[in-house]
């Protein structure tokens, strides 16, 4: 294979892990409350800025800015669910209209976060969070990768394994899964469903915040950086929107396909690629590539 294609694939895998991390956050929210979190991108962006503030403003050591951002964004997500979504669910007509209202709520949240960040004059210019390790690039044959790239891929793997362990082996994780599968039954066996919902949102938000700290060195930060949520959505759909490994596979597939299209077709077609892939996947396999058989949602 030509070095061009190899580099395209390698870089695509890295970018794909970027999409995957955000996609995982979206899927956790969706599984817990059926809502597509359109503020997911803004949470990533806010995590990046908070990480920057912690590093440059407060002078914290680099490794500490991850938990710092995670906790901050966890609070944003959990509070949003507790204060806003619970009320909406309670007051709205059940079914579709509640869902639509909650999705509009996440849109509102995205404007709130973006608007608040934009008020700070520092954000008028483009900034970059310094990478966790900036050193000599890593060469694998003709392929060149930055150290930050490797960090991203490793982080994606670690996070996925940690989440899998969390959901499979811990009580909290199992309780979250139970709540997402059947809230009624879960509350009957004593699981505090509102608390679970809040936790799921907080967890997803924290994940987005951590993703922000990882990605800001690669993607640069502006208040509009949240637009990447569209690509994360594409990754999640390809993976089936139900499974976390599916997100990673979907993200990597998307990243690689984008680069290959750029090399073999044209750079202009790169922006079309995710949408074509979404439509094709859903046409052929409506449940995504990695979910199980298509099941009818509970009526």
């Amino acid at each position: 294979m030509s070095p061009l294609v190899l580099q395209g694939i390698a870089s695509g895998v890295v970018t794909g892990c970027v999409y995957a991390l955000i996609a995982i956050s979206l899927v956790i929210v969706y599984k817990s409350s059926d809502v597509i979190n359109f503020a997911g991108g803004e949470m990533v962006m806010l995590g990046g800025y908070i990480g920057m503030f912690a590093l440059i403003g407060l002078g914290l050591p680099y490794l500490l800015i991850f938990p710092f951002a995670a906790v901050a964004i966890f609070a944003v997500g959990a509070l949003f669910d507790r204060l806003v979504l619970t009320r909406t669910r309670h007051l709205a007509l059940p079914g579709q209209s509640a869902l639509v209202a909650m999705v509009i709520g996440t849109v509102g949240l995205s404007y709130v976060i973006k608007g608040a960040v934009r008020v700070v004059p520092y954000t008028e210019d483009v900034h970059r969070l310094p990478p966790i390790s900036a050193g000599t690039p890593i060469f694998i044959g003709p392929v060149v990768l930055q150290q930050q790239d490797v960090a991203i891929v490793l982080a994606a793997i670690v996070i996925m394994v940690a989440l899998w362990a969390f959901f499979s082996f811990t009580m909290a994780g199992k309780a979250l899964r139970a709540t997402s599968q059947n809230p009624r039954a879960a509350s009957l066996v004593g699981i505090p469903v509102p608390l679970m919902s809040m936790t799921a949102w907080g967890l997803a938000a924290a994940l987005a915040g951590v993703a922000g700290v990882l990605l800001a060195p690669k993607l640069l930060l502006t208040p509009d950086s949240g637009i990447i949520v569209i690509l994360a959505l594409a990754a999640a759909i390809i993976g089936g929107f139900t499974s976390l490994p599916g997100c990673v596979a979907g993200g990597i597939l998307l990243g690689v396909v984008q680069n290959l299209i750029g090399v073999f077709v044209s750079s202009r077609a790169i922006s079309l690629a995710p949408f074509l892939v979404i439509m094709l996947v859903l046409l052929v396999r409506p449940q995504g590539l990695f979910a199980g058989k298509a099941t009818a949602k509970k009526v």
Binding site: Y30, D34, I36, F38, L83, V84, R87, T88, L91, A92, L93, G95, Q96, S97, A98, L99, V100, A101, M102, V103, I104, G105, V107, G108, L109, S110, Y111, V112, I113, K114, G115, A116, R118, V119, I230, L233, A234, I237, F241, R268, S271, L272, P274, F275, L276, I278, M279, L282, L283, P286, Q287, G288, A296, K297, V299
Partner: protein, 316 residues
């Protein structure tokens, strides 16, 4: 609630028509411009509400049909000299046709997959508007020459205003008929429960596809309306942000109700203008303020403003 709408319900439409002819005589162009924008959004929102509020289909493709309607009407006028009274229906028909075609595969998808597939379609359509520059002018956009409606020249806000009002009145009347018709009832049934609807003998798929096509026609009509008072179109008009705005309008106003949709359009359509003029010292907070308003509305009035009014009146 069902059956033909009583004649009294049409009274507000007569008012709308009268306003359409009277207001351009007294208001400065700026306010007429705002009015034109609102009327165009009203038709868009009504169409989206048919799909989302009545048939319960959470689909994001609406803005693509809006673009198809706009470009088709504008291009027919500019390239082939097709007059507006033929061009707009053609644009709407094309939009409806594509809506029909999209409807078939789309209806096999459930909830989030439907939303995301139609969203992908809308983004792909915007990419096509951008890339097909030989036809659409691409990113440089297209200048729209002033259309004439049956010999009456439009192209400016005061001249377009009465025509816009007339089209809006027509679309509202159409919506009233639709929602009280058999198809309208079928859509409601499908929204509440597809299984029960099927069990009652309703062809669920056909109903869903019909909803798609009809809402696409509305969007195509709105596209034609665009050419009446705007002089320039480029692909940025048909963005994801637009669809989000439309969704917000119908959620804030009240899903599944004509007055609700119109209230939502008026409020969220005017909100940016109001914020711009009142927040002079705090312009940078506009975005934040807009987000806060959205969040507050869905927190305290998740059924929309009209939903809250109806609930207060004592309906269940």
């Amino acid at each position: 609630m069902f059956g033909s709408p009583p004649l009294a319900r049409f009274a507000p439409l007569a008012l709308l028509l009268i306003a359409g002819f009277a207001l351009p005589q007294v208001l400065p162009q700026y306010f007429l411009f705002l009015g034109n924008i609102l009327m165009m959004y009203a038709v868009l929102a009504l169409g989206l509400d048919i799909l989302l509020g009545w048939a319960g289909q959470f689909a994001f493709a609406h803005v693509a049909f809006f673009g198809i309607g706009t470009y088709t009407t504008a291009l027919l006028q500019a390239r082939l000299g097709v007059p507006f009274v033929i061009g707009m229906p053609l644009g709407a028909a094309l939009a409806g046709l594509i809506g029909l075609v999209i409807g078939f595969p789309a209806t096999r998808l459930r909830t989030v997959y439907l939303a995301l597939a139609t969203f992908a379609f809308a983004e792909a359509a915007q990419w096509v508007f951008n890339a097909w520059d030989k036809v659409t002018g691409g990113p440089d956009g297209l200048r729209i020459s002033a259309p004439s409606v049956l010999g009456y020249a439009t192209g400016s806000d005061p001249t377009a205003f009465p025509v816009m009002a007339a089209i809006l009145a027509l679309m509202i009347a159409a919506t009233m008929y639709l929602t009280t018709s058999k198809l309208g009832r079928a859509m409601c049934a499908v929204r509440e429960s597809e299984h029960v609807a099927a069990a009652s003998g309703i062809d669920v798929n056909a109903t869903k596809v019909a909803a798609f096509a009809i809402s696409a026609i509305y969007a195509g009509v709105a596209g034609g309306m665009f050419t009446l008072f705007q002089s320039f179109v480029n692909p940025d008009v048909f963005s994801f942000g637009q669809i989000v705005l439309l969704l917000s309008m119908i959620v804030v106003g009240g899903l599944g109700s004509i007055p609700g949709v119109l209230i939502g359009v008026a409020l969220l359509g005017l909100l940016p203008e109001i914020m711009r003029t009142t927040m002079r010292a705090f312009l940078v907070w506009q975005e934040f303020g807009y987000g806060v308003i959205l969040v507050l509305v869905i927190m305290f009035m998740p059924r929309g403003i009209w939903g809250m009014i109806v609930a207060r009146r004592g309906a269940p």
